[in-house]
Structure formats: structure tokens, C-alpha cells
Symmetry: C2
Subunit: 347 residues, 2 copies
Amino acid sequence: MLIALLPGDGIGPEVVAQARRVLDAVCGDALSYETAAVGGAAYHATGHPLPPETLALAERADAVLFGAVGDPTCDALERALRPEQAILGLRKALGLFANLRPARLFPELADESALRPEIARAIDMVIVRELNGDVYFGEKGMRRTATGRREGYDVMSYDEDQVARIAHVGFRTAMGRDRRLCSVDKANVLETSQLWRDVVIEVSAEYPDVALEHMYVDNAAMQLVRAPGRFDVIVTGNLFGDILSDQASMCAGSIGMLPSASLNESGKGLYEPIHGSAPDIAGQGKANPLATILSAAMMLRHSLGRPDDADRIETAVAKALAGGARSPDLGGAMTTDAMGDAVLAAL
Amino acid sequence: MLIALLPGDGIGPEVVAQARRVLDAVCGDALSYETAAVGGAAYHATGHPLPPETLALAERADAVLFGAVGDPTCDALERALRPEQAILGLRKALGLFANLRPARLFPELADESALRPEIARAIDMVIVRELNGDVYFGEKGMRRTATGRREGYDVMSYDEDQVARIAHVGFRTAMGRDRRLCSVDKANVLETSQLWRDVVIEVSAEYPDVALEHMYVDNAAMQLVRAPGRFDVIVTGNLFGDILSDQASMCAGSIGMLPSASLNESGKGLYEPIHGSAPDIAGQGKANPLATILSAAMMLRHSLGRPDDADRIETAVAKALAGGARSPDLGGAMTTDAMGDAVLAAL
Ligand SMILES: CC(C)[C@H](C(=O)O)[C@@H](O)C(=O)O
Ligand SMILES: CC(C)[C@H](C(=O)O)[C@@H](O)C(=O)O
């Protein structure tokens, strides 16, 4: 099976290299790899953040392991050439509409969370974020008002098919867990949210065993601080999911720990750590590779049909942490390499 | 000076009554009051959540003290008749474009925050939220896609004048504090945010003493958990402000503690606790009135030119807390009345 490695910018190459070492140790020759440029790195090399060869590789591969994009030297470029367009373009081109972000605290890291340990320890949820619609992909631009003033605009929208397919992912995810689904919207203000809520309720008829609740996004942002342990599965749109999933991950400890999967209808997926390119620490061996290693485990489970290998990696990460492996973001001083070594030793 | 009292739904009447007692004790006959119906209560009485008499009173008054709106029995009504439209309508009709939400932890309540006490204790910020634009007030509705599917849509937009006037409020607020302003947007995805960022940068030329930074909203949601003490003043749009200010308030302790002011260009304001109508505890004497009492203090300071009276009230609240006043949300058992008594006794 072919894995597309897209290391990208900043710390991306460092963390992807460690995930590759772990995959080699676990899967040996069963997987093969091709690497391509993406993000600011690709822009500097080819003039575009998502070159056609990179997209073609991602389409050909059985799964994509992604590092990070984001490069301050590209800030002044027109939007279409900025590094972020690479990840948005991949999500759209591959139809990766379902973003799964598990957030749970490794018990070994209870002291790293900003939340009280007893609150943080209760966190065990999956956020299911829609990734192909919403205000991200609507018509947008700059225009002039009637009085000639500059105005920026972006159209937010969802149609019923988009909502239904992500709702199904949310319900199915809940069926595999504690059977509680919280749908987050802003239906008291937004028509997009009203349709979202209507359709989620329609879909719920097919999942009588799942307890469904609806929550406004402002309240959800509060509950994720106050009582994050109350959530099992959250399903929400692209924009609210962007905000809430980053917030939830921070509640669960270091952002250096959390993986994500972005899936299309046929189960093909792109796997990436939720942290960004962290240009301030790039190239210094300070990055925590565990989120990428855990993303590789998700890839084995969700796209490659190797759940046992996924379990092995996740167990090894827990063991490495229990053995004291700590990068700077976890309050320690271990290098990126040494963190990779610790996981390899624990396998 | 005339105060419009709009108690509204749920616990609104209970908490506004306590604020009124405190205002009477502090200002005596200097203030007069008229009460009007708003929200679900007004809908049930008159068929509209913001009756013309209520709006007229709010316009005539020197300031508005608002309880809360939100009534589950109105959930099935068409949007224009729902309780939330009353507060949105007041904000728009009175031109209340600047929402100020101070978030700081009363030291006495360090144990109530979900955050570790050492992180919570460092919180001392003001969130400045734009309140008259964004996706809240753009064109919105239900339509059919080309293939006949239901689609909900809402247009997000800001023009340069809207951004500039709230940016000025942000910079001026920072000038009166630690002179650090963080502007929150999603400029890597949204054109509305790109204009926001451009205009904030333009306005910053008039405030050379304020250190300005820009942060993406997903990162801001993380930083508000990880290191909320790093913020002095945050300025952001209506939708992001809705989410982040509720999140920040929860980081600072109970939502029952936090006041807000919504101001127009001439300094006229509407003052409300940031908690909602809490229908589940309405009428049981369980509501914490301190957020409303502190909102009344903000009213004295920002709209009525009585900063000394505002200080007196805030000091009395701190004293009451130090003396052990605790409603259920603060881990105690005191009734709404008893909390009011405690503040009166501390005056
Ligand atoms: C880089 C950016 C466009 C992206 C997003 O907003 O989706 C990122 O924040 C994420 O969550 O993957
Ligand atoms: C009630 C609702 C419309 C309102 C808002 O979203 O602005 C509320 O959440 C607030 O923050 O005051």
C-alpha cells in the first residue's frame, strides 16, 4: 500500500520523519512511501502551494500522512498562493468531508493540562467536524458598499446533503462509543444552523439508540472548559469545528499530542497532527512528534485496515510517556529524535 | 436620570430585582426607573418579543438594565418572533455596536474556576466584541440548490467603517489598561477577516503606544485555555466574540459573575449579565445576582458618569464574596435574595 508523505512547512518534516520510523518498525515492507512538497515549501520550490504532482500523488496513494503548512514568509501573497490553500485544496479535491479529532488526556499527562486534573482526566471525546462546506468554501471577496466603502464578505451555507452525510458520521461514531451525540450550531441566529439542526433531527430517526442533544456554540465553548467530561461525540460545521476542536485539544493537554483524520466517502484519508507548522521552533529538534505518530496509528486503523498495528503504536506511545518521555511542550527536554527513539523502544 | 429596566425571561426578573435594590441603596432618588416587557415574556403578553413601547422606553432612557431573554416555549416560533430577536433588535435599533466584557477572577473565587488556580488567577482582560455587523445581520434565508435541495445561507460581512469604529474602542480600551491589543480573526480563510485585519492595522497608526498583535480564532480559543493571563484587551467580530467571550468568562470562574456593557457612539448603553435566562432554575431563588449587580456598576461608570458609585458596588461585591457569600453556582447554598442582602450589608 502506498502512503503519500507530505511533510510541508516548519516542524512538519521533523515530525513526519519520526512517524515514518515508527511505521517502518511496525509495518516493514507492507507499506511503501512517496514524498511530495506542499505548503510554503512547495510555493518556494514551484510557485504553488499545492503543485499538480503533489495532488496527483495524494490521489494515487492509499492514504496521506501530512505534516503541517504555514509559513510567515508567505503572509503577503495573494490568498490563492498561501500555504493554507494547500490543505484546503486537498480537503476539497479528495472530498475529505469528515474530520475526526479524538481528544482525550493520556493519564500520564494530567499535570500538563491547564484544567484542574480532576476535570481534565474526565475528557474522552471525539469531535466530528465537517470539512468541505460552510463559510470556508462559499463565495467570498472584496466589494464596495453603496457609499463606496471597502467591504469584505463570505457566504456561509450548508445544503441538506452536506449536513446529512456528516450527521451520519457523527451518529455512527457515537454508536461505536457511549451513544451520546451533541450537535453544535447557532440556530438562534443563523439560517445555516437552522437547516443544520433540522437535518440532524431528521437523520436521528435512523439512530434511535443515540441520545441527541443540541447546543449553541457559545454555550459549547463554555461547557468545554467547565465540564468537558460530559461530551462523548460532538458534531459541528467547519468553522465552529475549527474553533472548538482546537479548544478541546488544549483542554486535553498539549497540542503536541493530538492526531486527526480527514476522511472521504470511501474511507480514504489524510492524517495530520492538529498542531501547526510552529515556525518559531522549526529545525531545532524541539517539536513533539507524538501527534504525528498517533496520526499514523489512526491511518492504519481507518484507511489501511491494520487495527492491531494501530493499537501497538498507541500502546507504545502510552508506555513511552509512562517511562518519562517528555519533549519541551510536555515540560521536558527531550529532542524530537529522542521522543521517536522512546516510542520505538516501547514497541 | 431614567433607567429602563428590562427583566425579560427566566431568572432575568430575579437578578434585576437585586440590582435594583443595590442601585436604590447607592443612588437613592438620583435615578428613576421604568420597567417594560421583553423576550418570551413580551411575546406571550403582546405577540412580539420587542414591543414598540419597550423599544421606545429604551430609546428614551439614559441607560438600559437588561436581565436575560430565552424561553424554550418559543423554540418553534418563526425566527422574527423568538426571544433572541429582542436583544438583537435592541442592539441594532440603539446602535449598540461595542460590547465590553471584562473577564477577571475575583481572587476569592480561584477555587471555582475549571482552570488551575495559578492560571485562573492571572486572568484580567477585556473582550471588545463588535455587535452590529458580521454574519448576525447579513442577508440570510433558506433557498434551493440547483438540484432542488434545501440550503440555509447567511452572508458574513464587514465594511471598513464598522471595523474602524470598533478598532478605536479596542485601542482606547487598551490605552486605559496595559496597552496591549490582540485582534482576533480568521484571515487565512475569510475575506471579511482580511478586511478586518487590514483596517485594524490602518487604525493602529493612531495608537503608537499600543502593542498590536493578530491571532487566528482557533489559536485564540487555545490560548484562552492555556495561558489566558497573556491577554490584556481582545477585539474581535460579532460571531467570534460571542464564542470567545463566553469561553473566557468560564475560564474566569462562574458565568454567574460576569457583567457586560453594550455601547453606542454617544456612550448610551445597555447593561446585562452575560449568563442567559437559565429556565431550569427560574423562580427558585437559585440564581446568582452578582453579574447583574456588576452590570449595574458598569452602567454607573460608562453611561451615568458615577464612577465612585460604581467603585462602591464593586468593592461591596468583593467584600460579600470575601465574607463567604456563595450562591449554588459558586458552590454554596445562598438564595438570590440572600446574595443581594450580602452586597447591601457590605456597602
Ligand atoms: C490552516 C487552516 C486553513 C486550517 C483550518 O482552518 O481548517 C487549520 O486551522 C485546521 O484546523 O486544520
Ligand atoms: C441570545 C444570542 C442572540 C446572543 C448572541 O449571540 O449575541 C447571546 O449569545 C449573547 O452573546 O448576547
